[in-house]
Subunit: 352 residues, 2 copies
């Protein structure tokens, strides 16, 4: 796709809520020509978010992004609850007035806002709702258990700690090793990167597992090793339902557990909440996940992906990784920092 | 509410799909003056469904129900996928023509059918969609943990084994014991009985826990002991997501585990599926539920409700109950067969 994109992350580019922007810049196939965030205007995204890895210019306004050639404005922030903050609406209307398509993964669908619909229609522009649910979903039929493909699923100890990134890095490593590996997107950022998928958190609650099964069936048409992006966390008080419905619905053979080094609680504070629930020891969490999957198809945790982004030195990162290995007896690595080959080999041998 | 109701269960009154009709007759506060099912016309509901417990006359047509004074026609069947079968629509139009309100808990909302909307508007009648989701839902804020009310939640080893019934019977027993007890409805049948609630399986997946929290906050305005109806089962491959989101979202202090005597697998066969996943021993399942709730607020299973409906003799039912008690060390009883007082006392002491 040759479309040039600007990501909108006003006030949030440096936060984990800006993960949609970060992912689009790091992994998206389209060129990102600007990030809109007046808080950091004049710098580059890589300076603010090393993970994004590209020197995309940060501008203060949508007009500046348009001047840099952006043809589409993609909302790069995942606000809690997926609501469209009223103060963003003016920016979206401006983007449409400047001839840009608008793309978002909010629960508040753009296509249901009469003002945005009218503005887009007037200019013949698209409002793209990445979380819009396909027709015909229902509860699972059990067909997912019958696909030939091997299925690996990432699960996390919290939200926004890099499950999608780990899934993408493992997919690339598996492909490099000669596998027909497929990244299976289950959220709006993954969908914007891969160009297909279902935002399983946006379907009718009764259909979470059915949506996950549909993704497995679709993924099996694309390759024979499926890496299904996880959502939420099994003990997360906001999102655990989506996590478990996805876990059961995608019928994995093996799990990769993603953890943020040093985190001992689920982080609710950036949502204005109190300190979140304690995260149990990783070995205990792995056993809990195995017990939840066992009646349907046992899915052992075969490797741990550790995010060491908050640790500055490589040596200390290696120490944190070694500690997890000694605690759990499993291979652990940070695929962003040290590459995903070693983690992939652990997954491969776990699937054997 | 003094409204007189007719339940529509054409062809399904004798099946478990007719559970909405059965529940309305057994527990509803409104008088049910007729059940419409031409298959059983001329008999009474109690003859066909002993559980319903009332000699409501069964008639063949909506017109006969109107002649018996019905002011509202409530659809008492939960058809596959929550769709409105086309052959029912004529009956609903006839009900409206005869001056009756129409009430249903389908995924296909009555209010989206132009013919029904026009017919209702013409006569100033109501179309009541019990599964319609209230505005303004989102993820939980954590406020549920702060309510003064004590919260008891029913969880099951499978679907359609009587969680709602157990919840209603426990509510009645607690009231009889002097508690300000509130039945908190989480599904369409419970909503039709109690006249409020949210069908948590119908909300956007991300909002399951938020909907459950909203119910707890609303329930706490109504009393100080909340009995929150469970949905699905934590190991159910179709519905586990709803189950866990509800479990975390309603922040219970204690759980009552509902089980069908003798069931060793989740029943997928009535959906045309293969034999379902094995149900683990009840003590193991209780421990799993405790581990899932512990990081947020530990919710021990404090009693087991056993459905013995498939056991004909009371003696054998008592043997099955005693066996569960010896296996689990918990009080077990069948509140439909033997009354809920004993179970309520176990819950009360579990809450202490």
């Amino acid at each position: 796709m040759s479309e040039r994109v600007a990501v909108f992350a006003e006030g949030f580019l440096h936060t984990s809520n800006g993960k949609a922007a970060h992912g689009l810049i790091r992994y998206g196939e389209r060129e990102v020509v600007a990030a809109v965030d007046s808080l950091h205007a004049g710098r580059t995204v890589a300076e603010i978010v090393p993970y994004a890895a590209k020197p995309v210019p940060i501008v203060a306004t949508v007009a500046e992004a348009a001047a840099l050639g952006a043809q589409c404005l993609a909302i790069g922030v995942a606000p809690a609850g997926g609501k469209l903050p009223p103060e963003w609406k003016q920016a979206l209307l401006q983007a449409l007035a400047l001839g840009m398509h608008v793309e978002a993964g909010l629960h508040d669908e753009l296509g249901r806002d009469a003002d945005l619909v009218a503005a887009a229609a007037e200019r013949g522009l698209e409002l793209r709702d990445l979380r819009r649910v396909p027709d015909g979903l229902s509860t699972p039929s059990g067909a997912g258990l019958g696909v030939q493909a091997r299925i690996v699923h990432t699960v996390g100890t919290d939200c926004a700690i890099g499950k999608m990134t780990v899934t993408l890095e493992l997919t690339a490593a598996a492909r490099a090793a000669g596998q027909r590996a497929v990244f299976v997107p289950t959220g709006q950022v993954g969908i914007s990167i891969a160009g297909w998928g279902i935002a399983v958190d946006h379907v009718i609650a009764d259909y979470i597992s059915g949506a996950a099964e549909r993704l497995v069936l679709d993924g099996a048409e694309r390759g024979d090793l499926l890496l299904v992006e996880g959502q939420g966390a099994i003990l997360h008080p906001l999102y655990s339902g989506v996590t478990l419905g996805l876990l059961h619905g995608c019928t994995p053979h093996a799990l990769v557990l993603v953890h943020e080094a040093g985190a001992d609680r689920i982080d609710l504070e950036d949502r204005g909440g109190p300190p979140g629930p304690v995260i149990p020891p990783l070995a205990e969490l792995s056993e809990l996940l195995l017990r939840l999957t066992s009646p349907l198809r046992p899915a052992p945790v075969v490797a741990i992906a550790l995010s060491t982004r908050r640790i500055s030195s490589d040596d200390e990162a290696r120490t944190a990784i070694a500690q997890v290995e000694s605690e759990t007896g499993l291979t652990c690595d940070d695929p962003v920092r040290f590459g995903a080959e070693r983690l992939w080999r652990a997954v491969e041998s776990g699937l054997a």
